[in-house]
Amino acid sequence: MSIDVQKVSKKFNQSWVLKEASLTVETGELVALLGPSGSGKTTLLRVIAGLEYADTGDILFSGANANHVRVQDRQVGFVFQHYALFRHMTVFENIAFGLRVRPRAHRLKEEEIVRRVTELLQLIQLEQFSKQCPSQLSGGQRQRVALARALAIEPKVLLLDEPFGALDAKVRKELCKWLRRLHQDLHTTSLFVTHDVQEALELADRIVVMKSGEIQQIGTPDEVYHHPANAFVYQFIGHVNLFKTQFEEGGRGLFRSGSTTYVRPYLLDIHRENKGHTDAFKATVKQIIYTGLLAKIELLTEYEEYIEVELTRERCMVLKLQKEETVYVSLKEGATDDYAI
């Protein structure tokens, strides 16, 4: 089922939480709502779920207006950041809940419920925990139960609110991978909220970048990373260097006249001598940090701006950089990204 969000706005205490937000999630897609806290991404998700209502605008499920459909009838699977498992029920009963509260006429037979729940327990690989209470599980296990519980009602769309937000880094990575595989198998239309850029890039088919209740850009991970729509997206997705120093009349290389230039650290290169790079400028090495494959080098430019350059470790070794020495920095050859705005 596809989701259409059309010009949805919502005000809270005189300030916009959502401002004319429009987006489409195609059937079977996995889309990320990405933005800093307070960007309205969770509110948008809750409006789609029917847990909150928009002041203006429409929500369409498969083309049908769902504005007046109650949350109970929307058939959305919702996964909460803090799991929201029923603390007094066993894992089994948690997953069975959605099947047990169905109106009597549509309720499944007990054997059928047991069969379905057992299937879901196998899916989340927690069969042996079915009789335990949520408090006896780890964070990652709890979130898997929450996901199985949401899937039990065979939702038309799956909405996840910061699903990995409360987990530590390692569990988060594993669960992320697991969710991607799960989505590949089930193909449920899914929308998840995150403030973690890496998570959005790794998981989503498309990313919706939000800021202060407004959608900034919608695109594939590659598009938002390499062709950001505006300065905010450029700075929010990944590291970026700002060249603010301005020259009158045409500027000089990366230093333009009348505008700031944005360049990702990996698009820059360092040279010992200036070999005819017209855009090269002088800079002093301030700090060299090795982070596995890459080395981050902090430099102070001749125009008194701090910048960061990312080189491979090998390249760094060849250059034999020393702190406080002066080098030339230029754009890497063949850099194709949009690097300026």
Binding site: L51, Q72, F78, F86
Partner: protein, 276 residues
């Protein structure tokens, strides 16, 4: 050896411990233990036969029955009100929330005698409301109706006060989750909210019951002390005592003491359950 040495460092000297524990226990023995012993001795002073006799006295029986009736009405009223008020305060944002909280706390701060007087002033036969009710055959003051009302008033905050912080700390995530899975409002309440507050609710009900049984001040003002009709146990104990009928008075008191012990046991059990 090392752990023992460590313990010695962590502990206060023996004489400090002895004095502090001694003070605590003698205080308890003097103010709680002794009166209980006095009640027990006095109740059985004239023999177990008299003890049994005074509990079988028709006026005593009617006082016991009235007390049970009052509890049976007042406590469920408070439980329902308490759940509703706590649900409202903990799960919704609205104007006047602080006012409602203040109102719920009022019975704690108003003297029970004043509370009783309020009902006399509101429902007395010479007031507008009371007169109208009398004309339609409803007697509030000097009847069990008034006693129930006064008891409801005095025990109003117990359940609500117990549930509000509990429900606030639990938040509304579980209720929202249940709703997304298709549960109706009533199903959410019965299957998610109520089981989560179960032990807190029983705890509030226990406190509320204990208070309802023991209430004297407010009930005394509205009751009119009609023997066999509008006397609760605590009122009847007072009458018996004033008539120098000590063994009967203490016999009835012992009943309340037993009840209090029962409450205490229940309370301790619930406190354990509640914290898990």
């Amino acid at each position: 050896m090392r752990t023992q040495a460590l313990k010695a460092v962590q502990r206060d000297p023996v004489w400090v411990r002895m004095i502090l524990i001694g003070i605590a226990f003698s205080f308890l023995a003097f103010f709680l233990g002794m009166p209980l012993v006095v009640i027990a001795i006095n109740a059985c002073r004239d023999g177990l036969h008299v003890y049994a006799q005074s509990l079988r006295d028709p006026d005593a029986v009617s006082a016991i029955l009235l007390t049970l009736k009052v509890v049976a009405i007042a406590v469920p009223c408070n439980a329902i009100f308490g759940i509703a008020a706590a649900w409202l305060i903990a799960k919704f944002q609205f104007r006047g929330k602080q006012v409602l909280l203040g109102l719920i706390d009022m019975p704690f701060s108003v003297s029970p005698i004043i509370a009783g007087l309020l009902f006399v002033l509101a429902f007395g036969s010479n007031t507008l409301l009371g007169g109208w009710l009398m004309a339609h055959g409803v007697r509030v003051i000097f009847s069990s109706t008034g006693i129930v009302l006064a008891t409801v008033f005095v025990t109003l905050p117990f359940v609500a006060r117990e549930l509000i912080p509990l429900m606030q700390s639990q938040g509304i995530d579980e209720e929202e989750a249940a709703m997304t899975m298709g549960a109706s409002g009533w199903q959410v309440f019965a299957r998610v909210t109520l089981p989560n507050i179960k032990w807190g609710l029983w705890y509030g009900i226990t406190l509320s019951t204990a208070r309802a049984v023991g209430e004297f001040g407010a009930v005394s003002v509205v009751s009119g002390h009609i023997r066999g009709l509008t006397n609760t146990i605590s009122l009847h104990v007072e009458i018996l005592y004033n008539e120098y009928n000590f063994s009967a008075a203490f016999a009835l008191s012992s009943l309340m003491v037993l009840f209090a012990f029962g409450t205490l046991v229940v309370k301790i059990i619930l406190e354990g359950k509640r914290s898990t």
